[in-house]
């Protein structure tokens, strides 16, 4: 994505608040949400801040549930608004029916998931346990969200703009998949410019039928099987086109013999593990997927030809690792290191794991 020059002073902000401020600057028309830890600062910030922004016309509504929130998002998006909601894992589960309808009706919107540990009511501590739910559809039927995974407070803000750009380009719901730590921690952030996201006409929206056009219908009901299949084929074609939006970044992969793969906060920790490893002379690099859907299968496959093994690190029981293995196709061993329930691996833990695997590999080779 294009990077504009930012002249504004850096601010120290919480991830959730930086995201909320970015939403105001992205000129959202509406936010509908329901409180849940660890993301309630998003709605709190908007409720506090929006009335002070006289130049803005933004609806901020606390709904009676996440179910109502996502259906308000459906209505507003169908009416042509730039609209978003945010929640955390159990709340996002409640939204899955609505997200399936939104994907089928092809409505652009942003859903933010500040993930907490599960399953069930779980814990309010950070987790990456919703990777499957976010990237494989989540609700019923064949569909995908575009999924962006920030790894810093800066990206919590920046990805709001990227998310709406992609949502509106493809008429598809987009998810920012963060975690409780990214939502809660404070970091330096240079905010995106106010009003920096253009709005384009949406001739399909339900804004009132005028004489010069047929009535617009927002629906996900296609009861004839021939028609339903046609809609599905269209969706699949769109998902194919979205593959060109794949984003990732790499650290020290040029000469890497060992590859770490991690997203979000885990990638931040792995970056430190790479530094520690390099200090000890271990040639380790890191690939960090930025979009989780689409996923950088091709680049991981290329790197798999150059490394001895891959270690995938996540804050869950092993979810993205399945996509990594799909990319690698058995060319090299893919190992997994994960912690769950709100626990987070330290860089030293990751390095120890890496060294243990390295040793085992060498024994096998000798």
């Amino acid at each position: 994505m294009e990077k504009e020059i930012r002249t504004e002073e850096p601010r120290l902000m919480k991830g959730n608040e930086a995201l909320a401020e970015a939403a105001i600057r992205a000129d959202i028309d509406a936010y509908f949400g329901y409180p849940i830890t660890p993301q309630s600062e998003v709605i709190e910030y908007l409720m506090r801040e929006v009335p002070n922004r006289k130049d803005k016309k933004i609806v901020v509504l606390q709904a009676e549930s996440e179910i109502a929130s996502i259906n308000m998002v459906y209505g507003a998006a169908g009416a042509g608004a730039r609209v978003m909601t945010s929640s955390s894992s159990p709340g996002i589960s409640l939204m899955q029916e609505g997200l399936s309808y939104i994907a089928s009706a092809q409505l652009p919107c942003l859903v933010v998931n500040v993930v907490r540990g599960g399953p069930g009511l779980g814990t309010i501590q950070p987790s990456q346990g919703d990777y499957f739910q976010a990237t494989k559809g989540g609700g019923h039927g064949d569909y995908h969200l575009i999924v962006l995974a920030p790894a810093s407070v800066q990206e919590m803000a920046d990805f709001v703009f990227d998310a709406f750009r992609l949502a509106e380009k493809y008429r598809n719901p987009t998810m920012i998949l963060a975690d409780g730590a990214l939502g809660q921690m404070m970091e330096k952030v240079v905010l995106p410019p106010d009003g920096g996201l253009k709005k384009h006409p949406k001739p399909w929206a339900t804004t009132g039928k005028t004489k010069d056009r047929n009535h617009n219908i927002i629906t996900s009901l296609f009861i004839q099987p021939e028609e339903m299949e046609k809609v599905n084929l269209e969706l699949q074609k769109k998902y194919e086109a979205m593959q060109s939006e794949v984003r990732w970044e790499e650290f020290q992969t040029d000469d890497a013999e060992i590859l770490l793969v991690a997203f979000g906060l885990s990638a931040r920790i792995c970056q430190k593990a790479v530094d520690l490893g390099r200090e000890k002379g271990i040639k380790v690099g890191l690939l960090r997927p930025i979009t989780l859907y689409p996923f950088p299968y091709e680049r991981i496959a290329e790197l798999a030809d150059k490394v001895e093994f891959i270690l995938d690190v996540e804050m869950n029981a092993g979810q993205m690792v399945e996509d990594v293995r799909l990319a690698v196709e058995g060319k090299v061993p893919v190992y997994f290191k994960g912690r769950m329930g709100g626990m987070i691996s330290t860089p030293e833990e990751i390095l120890n794991e890496l060294e243990a695997i390295h040793e085992k590999q060498n024994v096998l080779h000798d």
Partner: protein
């Protein structure tokens, strides 16, 4: 309207009645004798007469009227089951100058969507809710609804609705009328021409209140389901008058203080 029609013998006829532009030229899929088509007609006649086709946005539910947008020639959204008033809230909040209504059955509004119904009314959203109560799930084949009367036989209450099993028929409109957010609450029917005329007056008032930003209007229509009730259309009218109306009495439940 007002088109002149010339017959072969030279007689000139004036057209005084026709299908309004707000209704598409598509035959209703509803069963013979069902009240849905009459309520659709009434709604779209009012939209036509008030000249608000370009301002009106409807929300269809899951249920028999899921295809309401096939017939109503206005912009419409199809909501998930029970969520019509949440969808309507989303539309109205971003397009406050438009006129928004939801059209919902008893299962949609008073069972799966109860939370959305109560909270939308409680917020006083400036919309119209049209609630069709025929005491049965028509679309899925005649199962028990929250408003099914005691003793009424349905496919999921094959020996009649039993309070020990299924509780009482829900008088949700009475509940709605208690909420301070509600502006105008009325219970109507379409079982005879006089009732249809009354409903039309109520719908007209509701749209006018919405134009004046008065708040939420809630119109229940106690209707029939010949297929689900396993009666002829004529028998359903008798059942409405003798059994349904005594439990769901027609009339206004909350009138604006004007």
């Amino acid at each position: 309207m007002n088109e002149k029609l010339l017959l072969d013998d030279g007689t000139e006829l004036e057209q005084v009645f026709c299908r309004p532009d707000t209704l598409t030229d598509v035959p209703y899929h509803y069963c013979p004798g069902c009240g849905h088509s009459v309520v659709h007609n009434v709604l779209m006649e009012v939209v036509d007469e008030l000249n608000i086709q370009d301002k009106t946005i409807g929300v269809a539910p899951v249920g028999c009227s899921v295809f309401a947008y096939h017939y109503m020639n206005i912009d419409m959204q199809e909501a998930a089951h029970g969520r019509a008033t949440a969808v309507a809230t989303g539309i109205k909040r971003v397009l406050p100058d438009k006129l928004v209504f939801s059209y919902q059955g008893d299962g949609d509004l008073a069972a799966i969507g109860t939370a959305e119904t109560i909270h939308t009314v409680n917020r006083g959203e400036n919309i119209l809710i049209v609630f069709i109560n025929n005491g049965i799930y028509g679309m899925t084949g005649g199962q028990m609804a929250p408003t099914t009367l005691l003793g009424m036989v349905t496919s999921t209450s094959p020996y009649g609705r039993d309070i020990h099993m299924a509780g009482y028929p829900l008088k949700i409109t009475e509940l709605i009328a208690q909420l301070p957010g509600a502006y105008y609450v009325t219970r109507q029917s379409v079982h005879n021409p006089n009732a249809v005329r009354k409903l039309k007056k109520a719908v007209t008032k509701a749209f006018e209140y919405q134009m004046q930003n008065k708040g939420i209007c809630f119109i229940e229509v106690v209707s029939n389901c010949p297929s689900g009730w396993k009666m002829t259309p004529v028998e359903t009218i008798k059942y409405l008058e003798e059994v349904m109306f005594p439990y769901y009495p027609l009339g206004d439940l909350k009138l604006p203080k004007e």
